[in-house]
């Protein structure tokens, strides 16, 4: 006999207002960078009229193009690798009786979060230099593995949070119906876990995309990413061509995400 209420139960007062403000706040800087990528002058702060100059400049700038490509490859590789590893680790450390070593695993997984980047960077510099000397390999593998390592905790936490509250009954039901472990995982656990995995992968991707210090220390020749490229520019003033590149990347992201949306919707 619920009383009729004049509000929806899941409505928290102010939540909508605050989240709208949050979205405005989040997009304001993005809007600024998009607008300034069309600036005619060579300033990132002073508006001098519309033009496409910076898109032309960026297109002609091999360093920026190469850096963008390296950033994307490393972030994709690191996100895929770290999410796969984190998902396995999350499956291994949740929903089972406490065991000796569990805390150890937690601490290991969260360790990259606890150390300022510069420390890992200096240590990794020595490790990678030794491996480079021994193997002669100087490809992007170092960056991908190093990024994957510090992306693991970012991928792990949302996946684990999702797992912890997941209903076990569906999986039990599946095995009662003689589904194999793999089938249960593939058809029941994984789909239920998907939001967590997606959140984890996205966090990992953007975390990798933002890294400056570790990349700066272990990059091999020609492996500047967008952030290290920009770090190098700091002393000499930023040019709006990085705004142009960022705008293009955003547009590309939007196209890809929309395509992803449409595809998944059609499948259903």
């Amino acid at each position: 006999m619920a009383r009729r209420r004049d509000f929806a139960v899941n409505d928290l007062p102010g939540a909508t207002l605050i989240s709208m403000l949050v979205f405005i706040g989040l997009y304001a800087p993005i809007l600024v960078l998009i607008v300034y990528s069309f600036n005619a002058g060579d300033s990132v702060a002073k508006w001098q009229g519309w033009s496409l100059d910076w898109y032309r400049t960026a297109w002609a700038n091999d360093e920026v193009k190469a850096a963008t490509w390296v950033s994307l490859v490393v972030a994709t590789g690191a996100a895929v690798l770290s999410t796969a590893l984190a998902t396995m680790a999350a499956l291994g450390t949740t929903r089972r009786p406490a065991f000796r070593g569990q805390t150890f695993i937690y601490v290991m997984i969260n360790q990259p979060l606890m150390v300022p980047e510069i420390v890992t960077a200096v240590a990794l510099l020595l490790v990678t230099a030794a491996i480079k000397k021994a193997t002669g390999y100087s490809g992007l593998g170092y960056l991908i593995v190093a990024h994957a390592a510090f992306c693991i905790p970012f991928a792990y936490l949302p996946i684990r949070a999702r797992l912890e509250g997941m209903d076990l009954t569906l999986e039990t039901a599946a095995s009662d119906l003689y589904a194999s472990r793999w089938q249960t995982f593939r058809r029941v656990t994984l789909p239920l876990l998907m939001p967590g995995i997606l959140a984890g992968a996205m966090l990992a991707f953007v975390t990798s995309l933002d890294d400056v210090v570790i990349t700066e220390f272990i990059k091999s020749p020609g492996q500047d990413t967008l952030p290290t490229y920009m770090l190098g520019q700091l002393r000499r003033a930023m040019k709006p061509d990085v705004n142009a590149i960022s705008t293009l990347l955003l547009a590309l992201t939007l196209v890809l995400l929309s395509a992803f949306f449409l595809l998944t919707r059609n499948r259903k």
């Binding site: 706040g25 290991m108 150390v115 240590a123 959140a199 953007v206 933002d210």
Partner: protein, 302 residues
Amino acid sequence: MSPAEETAVRDQVRSAWYLSAPALAVLTLAAVGPLLIVLVYSFLTPGTHGNIEWIFSLEGWRGVLFEYDIFDDTLKLADGNLTIFWRSVKLSFVTTVLTFIVGFPTAWFIATRPTKARAAWLFLITIPFWTNLLIRTFAINQIIRNEGVLNTLLLKAGVISTPIQLTYTDTALLIGMVYVYLPLMVLPLFATIDRFDMRLLEAGYDLYASRWQVLRRVILPIIKPGIIAGSILVFIPCLGAYVTPRILGGGKNMMIGNFIELQFGQGKNWPLGAALSVALLVIVTIALLVYVRTISGERKNG
């Protein structure tokens, strides 16, 4: 416990290790292992031009807490280091609280949208983060400048009569850090709210609970794992933040990350940098262990 049950438990423990092994391997190679080098370095002598010399020394560790006065050589507490450390903890804590205050309503808002729209909102919150940190930080600076969008708007609206000096203040730094770390709070919160059974709210209100009581007694306890995950993800990286303090804080006041960087860079004192890092790591680990223990203890009792 029957033998069969015991075997089942042993199997579970074994599979736990198998499943975690690949992640542990990568972490050992690229995160934990290298730290051993840092630990060793903290006990060595600084080289003349950076790097280290292989001579055992406790000077690095002495430098974490005490320093010789550069002019009269008396040993005193290194208040510079402690000030920087305390500042970092304080700013990180405030950032964590602020991200929760704005992140919780946002996560709640997204989680209470119709299923179809939810993913769209979620993407909407992550899209800004697909642009890189440095660019975003510059753009924030752009907005809060004296002649920036924010001050211009406020001036035009008549809210203020002179521009607010935001650039290079702690406020600017906090704005930047909240911006940067917001999704790390929102996403885990969302993940827990998303599977929250809204009927519990119905039940709460049926029992004449006020909104505040429902929030405090029903919602917050249930989404606690999300809050924990979010706080860890925000607080700890904040402590070591490097780029944001440098650009938005104006570099006048260091945070611990910048201070450690200084030792490995212009300060040419790698052992001190290493000792500071290990000290930071130990403190954070202890804090984290206590935090996790308390939480899981509560869960058992509850």
